[in-house]
Amino acid sequence: MSVIIRVEHLSKSYIIRHQGQSSYVALRDVIADKVKGTFRKTKNLVTNRPVLKTPGKEEFWALNDVNFEVQQGERLGIIGRNGAGKSTLLKVLSRITEPTLGRISIKGRIASLLEVGTGFHPELTGRENIFLNGAILGMHRAEIKSKFDEIVAFSEVEKFLDTPVKRYSSGMYVRLAFAVAAYLESEILVIDEVLAVGDAEFQKKCLGKMHDASTKEGRTVLFVSHNMTAINMLCDKGIALNNGLLIDSGDIKRVVSEYLTNEKLKASFNHLDGNGLIKITKVLINGLEFEGDAKINQNISIEVVLDIQKNIEFKKAQFFVIIYDENGYDILSIFQKDSQELFKTADLKEKISINYINNLRPGIYKISIGIFNEFNEFVDWVDNCFFMRVLNQFNNEEQFDNRLGKVIVNAKFDLL
């Protein structure tokens, strides 16, 4: 194992302009600024303040003193919120933009796929675009020719090779674009969030291809994604960025889980709504606070600790649970009224419990819990009270078989 990428004190700053100016300058503004500049030093005689305001300019550090190393054959996942500097880092690594400070040394060729189908021309056919895109990514014609059949086979667009890509479905477009980049001969493969477009089956195929590229061909993979499941599946090392700073690096499982914990601590226990007469103060799931693992078909036992005020004018309380996936889509709702009577407020004690069988596929989920009164008004609603990782496993220890579908429901099958 040898170090293939070494990043030292890497920083990149942008000048951002306020007042709604766009990033490019119009000549007339430059001239106008020069004229204003001569007046800028003029001060108001009474108040002794400049007559004209300086236009708002601010230095913004998209990357700030970032240091890390990547070993050959490693699969590095880069995580962070939007605007954390992930894409800037990839752009600097792929030489699209120059760093402001610092130094990177890279041993080997880099193939970067920061966007799907960059340089694809809609009027050209699939065949023509493979050659064009290959050349854009730095391949030689002979190289593309020798890989041509593999690229076509991987992209599954044989039938439409001579159709202009403007008639392709978006899925076909993504498949073709990814295939060209994946078969590029390079020591390092850099991939930004590009898989989000394809269907689940294809995403899996791409992750598999990247995994093979690393384990079988010894290539190094740098992968940016907001999809923690994909990152966990593909990568072995990880770094986390926040506001341009490198905040964590190491084993991917640990980095991801710590990143999610931090995210959660920031966002956790938002009281979204409610009159506060009954307050949710603590949530324990299977005896754990904030985060935990679960298996498919496992019983989930939620314990909600309440703070109840004395004079409550409503008579009944209804509890509900909403489960979101890692992308923030609401996946599951559990409402008390669907299956049983509501609680009488007079009977409410300090704690209640909710039990259900987990039927979500493996992934990371956020749980939010709330209370309604009998008039369907919010009494309390707490967002992000728990992060649940559903493992790749059924409760009876069997492995999950990577099928389609977000929810797994048990049913009775009979011969008639």
């Binding site: 990033s23 792929s94 130094r103 890279i106 920061l114 064009l132 050349a135």
Partner: protein, 278 residues
């Protein structure tokens, strides 16, 4: 690739780009051809007469100029059929003006490539110029047709033509690179360029021979580098009695070389910021 993977070590630092630039340009030579090939392929897709467009445009302009300058204004034709006089100048002018205006827009219309992929940016405007150069060569067909129609055999001076072809190419390249870089930073040039092209048509000796310019103004007139290129074209195609004005040509050549060096220098200077400001 002949290099061993572990032997190449790439260093990225501020200002480092300069050092391996020309190497990279050579490495990406195929991209250059592919982009030119793409533009040629795309240019005439979904058109009925396709390639014929590159013949029709100069042909029609030639007719208009012959009528206006030759028939109505009755400018001297130096014993040459006026259509040939005009067309010999039309060719380099049309090449220059389309390259100039297309190159100026080339970076912006390829902005998605600029912000997502690394390659020497010089390739984009350069390949635009090359595509127009091919169009330019195609439109020579009409000149040959005209010469046959008017029974006008070329003289020995035609041997100099390649020299002036190169000169035309360098002018278009130099000016094209400069405005391409300018246009990324100052979008105002989008509005200025059509005006420059239109204005240039009238101050260049396209519709008339530069012999109509009084002798004492000839050198001053040659400050426009296209004067040297166009006069050279005319001289090498028509030959015979028409004389080339040597001091003017020298001045033009000097200016063209300066323009090219300046264009490349300015483009290189601006290049590293393209992805950030486009």
């Amino acid at each position: 690739m002949t290099e061993q993977p572990n032997e190449i070590e790439l260093i990225i630092e501020p200002g480092r780009l300069k050092k391996n630039y020309w190497n990279d340009l050579w490495r990406f030579r195929e991209l250059f051809l592919f982009l030119a090939w793409r533009d040629i392929l795309v240019r005439y897709k979904q058109t009925i007469i396709g390639l014929a467009w590159s013949l029709i445009r100069p042909f029609l302009t030639m007719i208009v100029f012959t009528v206006i300058f030759g028939r109505l204004a009755k400018l001297p034709s130096e014993g040459v059929p006026y259509p040939i006089l005009v067309y010999a100048a039309m060719l380099p002018w049309q090449f220059f003006s389309t390259s100039f205006s297309e190159a100026s827009n080339s970076l912006i219309s390829n902005s998605n490539m600029l912000t997502k992929i690394y390659f020497p940016r010089l390739i984009i405007p350069a390949s635009t110029v090359i595509v127009n150069f091919i169009d330019f060569l195609i439109s020579f067909i009409i000149l040959i047709g005209l010469m046959i129609w008017y029974h006008f055999p070329p003289s020995w001076t035609i041997l100099y033509l390649p020299l002036f072809l190169v000169l035309a190419l360098l002018t278009a390249m130099g000016a094209g690179l400069y405005v391409a870089a300018l246009n990324v930073k100052y979008r105002d040039f989008k509005y200025i360029i059509p005006f420059v092209v239109q204005f240039g048509l009238y101050i260049s000796p396209v519709g008339f021979s530069s012999n109509v310019v009084p002798g004492k103004w000839r050198l001053l007139y040659s400050i426009n580098p296209m004067v040297g290129v166009i006069d050279g074209f005319r001289w090498s195609i028509i030959g015979g009695d028409s004389q080339i004005y040597l001091p003017g040509l020298m001045l033009s050549v000097g200016l063209i070389i300066f323009l090219l060096i300046f264009g490349i220098w300015y483009f290189r200077k601006m290049e590293k910021t393209f992805a950030d400001i486009i």
